[in-house]
Symmetry: C2
Subunit: 347 residues, 2 copies
């Protein structure tokens, strides 16, 4: 469990994990499982494919009984079916996992708890079902009250600009330096990686900032909460989520994420991508409502669409313009951003 002591989680599901790939039709379908295997390899003891599965994580193949014998605690349904619907094979395999004594967690649109057979199997085996898209009950309204501890939030020019990846890269880098740093998940993959969190876009609107406060409570050990951002203040569909998350996170530090070359806001051809400076300034201004001392500490670019030379040149240009370290976390790492974060918050 990554949770610090004041966090409100008391579940029994959690690692070690068997990653269920089922009949995944392609790489994209196992995005959640891949996120877990990449960021938490020490938690993932095997995978389970079914005939026709077109994707692999390269883990050893285990059935549910073998996985339980090997020490697995939870099977994670880490693949998405078309339309988020659970196919009959998956339902059968989930029930078999419960009967084998595993808890089951999933990030599907179709909830485990909405399938009566699955619920019955969990009950007769005394096992837990965890739907990562289901907010916990009892999340309070946000208070905006200052709380102890240091928090970093990733924000973006758009949806899907690398916020989760960047946040986890920062966690890895900070931990390698011996710092206390804990990723806080706000989307289904992030929640499974963190083994806790709230799907911030699924809470009732009045509770967005309260949910952000809830996942990153007051902290007294000198460590950082690294909070996965969602959406964009400039996305007409989701900006309310982003603003509530920004206010509730009460961040000391922001990292801006961006994918160069995107023609328009995701799914909205009429809406252009905002400029980096404009986007960062809007986030800083809004963040000051709950933390007047907020600072930008870096920019993360997804340069997968360009050559290494182009990427380096662009990062240098952005760094000069915004006077912040700028890197592609995949190809360049986030050392420069962590250096700047620590320099900004030294003492």
């Amino acid at each position: 469990m990554l949770n610090h002591s004041s966090a409100p989680q008391t579940a029994h599901w959690g690692p070690p994990y068997l990653l269920y790939l089922g009949q995944a039709s392609d790489e994209l379908a196992i995005k959640t499982a891949r996120g877990l295997a990449y960021w938490r390899p020490e938690w993932c003891i095997g995978q389970l494919q079914r005939p026709g599965c077109k994707a692999t994580l390269g883990l050893r193949e285990l059935n549910v009984v073998e996985a339980k014998a090997a020490g697995a605690n939870t099977m994670v349904v880490g693949m998405a079916n078309a339309g988020g619907v659970m196919d009959p094979q998956t339902i059968t395999d989930v029930i078999a996992a419960l009967d084998a004594g595993l808890h089951v967690a999933a990030g599907l649109h179709n909830k485990l708890r909405e399938n009566p057979e699955i619920v019955a199997a969990a009950q007769r085996n005394g096992r837990e079902l965890f739907d990562a898209r289901d907010p916990q009950p009892g999340i309070p309204v946000g208070t905006g009250r200052r709380r102890a501890g240091k928090r970093l939030l990733t924000v973006g020019t758009d949806c899907s600009t690398g916020k989760m990846y960047t946040t986890l890269a920062l966690e890895r880098e900070m931990r390698q330096r011996g710092l206390k740093a804990d990723f806080r998940g706000t989307g289904q993959t992030g929640i499974l990686v963190a083994n806790c969190g709230v799907p911030i876009d699924s809470v009732v609107a009045d509770f967005i900032s309260g949910a952000a406060e809830w996942i990153s409570p007051a902290r007294f050990d000198g460590g950082w909460d690294l909070i996965e951002g969602q959406g964009s203040l400039f996305h007409p569909s989701y900006a309310g989520v982003s603003l509530g998350l920004l206010h509730g996170a009460q961040p000391d530090a922001l990292v801006l994420t961006h994918e160069p070359g995107r023609p328009h806001m995701r799914g909205l051809p009429d809406h252009p991508i905002p400029g980096l400076r404009e986007c960062l300034d809007a986030n800083l201004k809004a963040a000051r409502l709950t933390n007047p001392g907020v600072r930008a500490v870096g920019v993360s670019l997804n340069t997968s669409g360009m050559s290494a030379d182009e990427a380096r040149a662009l990062c240098a240009k952005v760094a000069a313009e915004l006077e912040l370290p700028c890197a592609d976390p995949v190809t360049m790492g986030v050392e420069s951003i962590v250096d700047h974060l620590l320099a900004c918050f030294a003492n």
Copy 2:
């Protein structure tokens, strides 16, 4: 029904109304009923008190059978119990209303549809239950696409600054001038007054702007949708709701509402009230994301805490500072704001 033809409402509940006051303990408890009686007197044919009721609307007292005979279609549970819980007398009376052939609507935290006896009574009588705090199923994600028609949204420096009252006052004034103007409700009282709408703070976070688009669809008759605002961009608990509503409403015109003299943001002693100019600018800037032509057309002040002379002087001062008409809608009316709105959008 006030709904224009493209709106998605097909319910049978609606006026004429019997307003249920029950055992209301004070004036505040019948806020919803009073809103209906004040703004839609032509819909309200009677009230129903129970022994111990400490508030009245001055309507004729009718029991459910008399109300039905007098033409009532729906009983509105227009009072709030402590904690939003329904007391046994209210439950008995709701069932009696259903048995008398009335639909029942309520804006309570405790839902009608969560009481099995009430649900059974509705079913056996073929009557509808309408919980104004329950979002309709099927609300889509917002698109940010420009749509036809003119829309005005009220925004505020804080919660409870008079957004509903101001919006309804604008509707009344515009209709008196023969203009097409329809109030769109976003809170429980507003929804009952409008006989349609979405409780915007109760939708799932991803759908805030979609809900705002849904209640004010494209409009082709030259009329105005007047949308009830919620919260404030400067309220740390609820700003996400306000931003999503602002983006989804896609307003052509904004009216800023404010209560002078409030010591801090509602419920949050650490958070000061923003300045009027700062608040208006932030709303205009955010609104431009989905409607670059948005304009501020007026300021509405709740001056109930000051003398008439003080109120007039303050309105004059604010009007000069913001170069906009400024009035208390209760004591001064909103003629000046409607004048300016029409001047801004002439042709």
